[in-house]
């Protein structure tokens, strides 16, 4: 590309655009296994260190090396951390997708690309910054074998110069990312500098995008939801963990292993205050959890949809024999193998009723990494208090992406192990039956092996209030009704929704999990663009609390926003609502595997509200690849 070309483009591209400060998204298109994740994290953390609210989302293939992957970084002075559908700044490193990536950009966007790809020939309405990455990396990395990995550390340097990131902060971010690997730090720092120097010597700024220092991120941390949940489990005093590797939940247990090895080894003996077992499959994982919980341990597993399907029979056993179990479901796209590395909220109905017969389970639904941490702890409390499985419904977006958050606070309350029979309680009761409801809340007292209290024979077959085998119709009904009573008690103990009631609003939004961020942003868009006021009910648990009915009654129309095709949460609601209330419910559904974005919600709601909506594009940048299996 000649300097004249640049000048021509400058006129076209920047003429219609104002300076855009701290409010745009960067998409990096690379090949997985090329070290780009480290580079992206350095970029992300640099923006955070600049004091600018930021989020990062990885869209990666189900593959280890060689396939296209996209990473989106969104800087937002208004704290919008949902995915933004439009890409403002593209870094095109992958020859395979570069052309399509460039063609889907909005006019006025900017592109840093690998020079030999000659992408500037494709469009005249973009700003192009060609960088000869191979030449630059050769100069800073003498070892040819390492060049493939180091090459990707050049683009953060280039972007830093173009966007105005502080190179000192970028070096700090690099240090954080690479830790004690001194040799790697030196090599990558040289690559960062090479990128910066090249940009400084070669480019004049033509795009409108700038990062300027703010003071919005002091004390904030960056963490993946899976790691946050792991910390929560450790603080909850988990002692037995059984798991089977599956994307996107593996890193939950892997983080847990590393935290536990560091913080849960007895100083005096050097021995572990925990057992973590990689089981032979998800069936065995839950079996071990049930055995451990039955024997009194705080126990958990983590999995994704296919694992949940396999756990069905055991989930019913835990429900019916009444053993606690904490099950993290980091949801991915189904059905079947589906899109293993893409996000969804598609396991709701499956988890709510997992197993045959009349079975139903408690689900709690974190929206943020902070809630992954706190709800992990709540899950153990609920599981032990209600002696039943508790599903923590996360998703890939929450579990595997890095999120900005306030630092987590140390738990202030001791743990509650629920109704364990004691000598004193037994004396007070006179007699004890394992499944006898003595308090009227449906929750019986339990004993655990080795506690030298009266034993019982736990079983998945029919049993009476004393825990004896029984096929008697009255015993069966009495027990099932008590289990129902227990579920009703849970309704008043699960996490309450977070409700923002707007007295001017006729429209109410119900969202949960990671849909929260796009929902909040969409509410702002609706208010600012079309003066549509909304109330917002952020659901956090199943069974639903009474607040749901109150919220529905206060509004004319309710949009249930969810990331699945079949409106699963709305269906769960309909099971409990009167026909009049059911008719108020509408759906906003997003299920293409990418995290939900505000514009999609806004457009969908406006269309259903009777507004004219022009669909801008059906193509989603960085959507994914075909073939390659």
């Amino acid at each position: 590309m000649s300097p004249t070309d640049l000048a021509v483009q400058e006129k076209q591209a920047s003429a219609h655009r104002q300076r855009v400060v701290n409010d745009f998204s960067i998409q990096v298109a690379t090949v997985n296994g090329s070290g780009s994740q480290t580079a992206n994290m350095v970029l992300l953390r640099s923006v955070l260190l600049m004091g600018v609210p930021v989020s990062g989302k990885n869209m990666f293939p189900s593959n280890i090396a060689g396939l296209p992957t996209w990473y989106t970084i969104r800087a937002s002075k208004r704290h919008y951390i949902a995915r933004k559908k439009e890409v403002d700044f593209l870094v095109a490193m992958n020859p395979e997708t570069a052309k399509e990536d460039v063609l889907t950009l909005e006019p006025g966007s900017a592109v840093v690309y690998d020079e030999p790809l000659k992408l500037n020939a494709l469009r005249t309405d973009l700003v192009f910054y060609p960088v000869p990455f191979d030449k630059l990396v050769a100069a800073v990395c003498p070892d040819a074998k390492l060049r493939r990995l180091v090459k990707n550390m050049i683009y953060p340097g280039v972007l830093a110069k173009i966007l105005g990131l502080d190179p000192k902060l970028m070096e700090q971010a690099l240090g954080k990312q690479l830790g004690k690997k001194a040799k790697a730090v030196v090599l990558n720092a040289a690559a960062l500098k090479a990128g910066w120097d090249y940009a400084e010597a070669t480019f004049t700024k033509q795009d409108p995008f700038f990062i300027e220092p703010m003071n919005e991120t002091a004390g904030k941390i960056l963490i993946e939801g899976n790691a946050a949940a792991a910390i929560g489990c450790m603080m909850a005093g988990v002692t037995v963990v059984a798991w089977y590797p599956i994307t996107p939940s593996s890193s939950l247990c892997e983080s847990l292993i590393s935290y536990m090895k560091k913080y849960r080894i007895d100083k005096a003996t050097g021995k572990a205050t925990f057992a973590i077992v990689q089981a032979e499959d998800e069936i065995a994982s839950l079996g071990m959890v049930i055995g451990a919980s039955w024997a009194g341990a705080r126990s958990m597993t983590a999995t994704a949809g296919p694992g949940i399907s396999l756990m069905g029979e055991f989930a019913g056993l835990a429900y019916y024999a009444e053993t606690p179990a904490v099950i993290f479901d980091v949801q991915r796209v189904g059905p079947s193998t589906g899109l293993p590395t893409r996000t969804a909220q598609g396991d709701l109905i499956q988890a709510a009723f997992l197993s045959h017969g009349d079975t139903k389970h408690i689900m709690i639904i974190p929206s943020s990494v902070e809630e992954c941490y706190t709800m992990a702890q709540e899950a153990f409390e609920l599981a032990e208090q209600f002696q039943t499985p508790v599903f923590v419904m996360m998703d890939l977006d929450l579990g595997m992406n890095n999120w900005m958050s306030d630092a987590f606070t140390y738990p202030t309350t001791p743990i509650n192990r629920g109704k364990l029979l004691t000598e004193a309680k037994l004396k007070e009761l006179g007699s004890w039956g394992r499944y006898t409801d003595v308090d009227g809340d449906g929750i019986p007292y339990r004993t655990i092996p080795g506690d030298h209290m009266p034993p019982y024979f736990a079983r998945g077959s029919g049993h009476n209030a004393k825990g004896q085998y029984s096929e008697r119709p009255d015993d069966y009904v009495e027990n099932m009704d008590r289990l129902n009573r227990k579920f009703e008690t849970a309704r008043t103990h699960v996490p309450k929704p977070v409700v923002q009631n707007n007295p001017k609003a006729k429209v109410g939004f119900i969202a949960f999990g990671t849909s929260h961020y796009a929902t909040e942003e969409s509410r702002d868009q609706l208010r600012e663009e079309t003066k549509v006021e909304t109330s917002y009910f952020r659901l956090r648990a199943y069974p639903f609390t009474d607040d749901l009915v109150t919220f529905i009654d206060a509004h004319d129309r309710i949009y249930v926003i969810e990331q699945n095709r079949d409106a699963q949460m709305r269906q769960l609601m309909k099971l409990e609502l009167s026909p009049e209330r059911q008719t108020k419910l509408r759906s906003v559904l997003h299920y293409n595997g990418l995290p939900i974005d505000a514009r999609s919600i806004t457009d969908d709601v406006l269309a259903q509200e009777g507004y004219e909506v022009t669909k801008k594009t059906s193509r989603v940048p960085g959507a994914g690849m075909t073939g390659g299996e």
Binding site: K220, R264, T273, A321, P449
Partner: protein, 342 residues
């Protein structure tokens, strides 16, 4: 003066070790096994309050209700008892686990969990009450049915059997034995030795199904098993708490010291048999199977290998009851983690 009540070394009466009344068929081999379990736990002076009884689904899996009524029990789902037992032992390493399975529960639906249980060498006594058929669903073949064995209906089994003992040895179990529900003496010795072992005990007990698999043409009938029982050795067990010395001719008997100091004496019937030699054990199993016989007794034993809980380096106290201060790291730990994420 009343006659003194018979008690064991921890002062408990035999009655304490009994369970509820069996609901299995009269003459079922499983009932004989339950009785030997009661005897063994009584004679070894095991505290029933420390025992967990585990099972899957099937006739065999009902039997834990019929022994050790003073112990906790868990009748889990079909073929998945090993994982439940594993979880229980992880939670509390002071428990003594006895799992009862059947040949279908182990060899068919549960073969996956069985395989991995054997690999882990979890401390558990795993008993297969092996009758070669599904009793509770009226007599279909199970995977341990021998080639050529005939059902009551005349159907002949044309698939090779799974030899659970050979499989267990191959996979790493450290105490593998086979017995016959009708051989009271051998079975009792094996069960007592099993209680002295720390690691996985895999005990396959041929236990004829009187209702569906006790006819001519079946290789798991009482008559057939009696005729084809091929004991490898005479098993004598001397628990650590009994001061008995056994004299034997050098070379005639193999002496094995168990984890708790108990002694196992294996008086050789077949001269060259060495129960600590894995390859030899597998060869012998194949040879006897080829002859249509059952090699019984201790087939393989490895008393010293670390069990699963030792390998996991778990603290000495049960994980289940560790106090809060030992399972919740202090605030400084959380602060350190948070600092690392800024």
């Amino acid at each position: 003066m009343a006659t003194p009540v018979k008690v064991n070394r921890i002062g408990l009466e035999p009655q304490v070790y009994k369970g509820s009344k069996t609901t299995l068929c009269a003459g079922c081999g499983h009932n004989a096994i339950s009785e030997r379990i009661i005897d063994a736990f009584y004679e070894m002076g095991v505290d029933p309050r420390q025992v967990v009884k585990l099972s899957g689904i099937g006739c065999s899996s009902k039997s834990p209700a019929y022994f050790l009524g003073g112990s906790h029990g868990f009748n889990a789902v079909h073929g998945r008892m090993p994982s439940v037992g594993t979880g229980a032992m992880l939670a509390n390493n002071k428990l003594i686990a006895i799992g009862v399975s059947g040949d279908g529960d182990t060899g068919a639906i549960g073969i996956g969990q069985f395989v991995h249980l054997m690999r882990r060498n979890l401390p558990i006594i795993y008993i297969i009450e092996d009758n070669g058929c599904y009793g509770l669903t009226k007599g279909q073949f199970s995977p341990t049915a021998d080639l050529g064995s005939k059902l009551k209906t005349g159907i002949v089994n044309d698939l090779p059997p799974i030899d659970t003992c050979a499989l267990a040895i191959e996979l790493g179990a450290t105490f593998v034995a086979r017995s016959f529900s009708g051989d009271k003496k051998q079975l009792l010795s094996l069960l007592k030795a099993a209680l002295a072992h720390r690691g996985t005990v895999m005990l396959d007990v041929i236990s004829p199904c009187v209702t569906f698999n006790d006819h001519e043409g079946s290789t798991k009938s009482y008559a057939y098993v009696k005729d084809h029982d091929d004991p490898l050795e005479e098993v004598s067990f001397v628990p650590f708490f009994e001061d008995i010395t056994v004299d034997y001719e050098p070379g005639s008997t193999q002496e094995v010291t168990m984890h708790d100091g108990s002694k196992l004496y294996l008086k050789k019937i077949e001269e060259d048999y060495d129960a600590t030699d894995k390859i030899n054990a597998l060869r012998r199993l194949h040879e006897t199977a080829r002859r249509g016989e059952f090699a019984t007794g201790i087939i393989y034993i490895e008393p010293d290998r670390d069990d699963f809980l030792t390998q996991l380096n778990i603290v000495d106290e049960p994980l289940a009851t560790l106090p809060l201060e030992r399972v919740r790291p202090g605030k400084e730990a959380l602060d350190e983690i948070m600092e690392g994420l800024r």
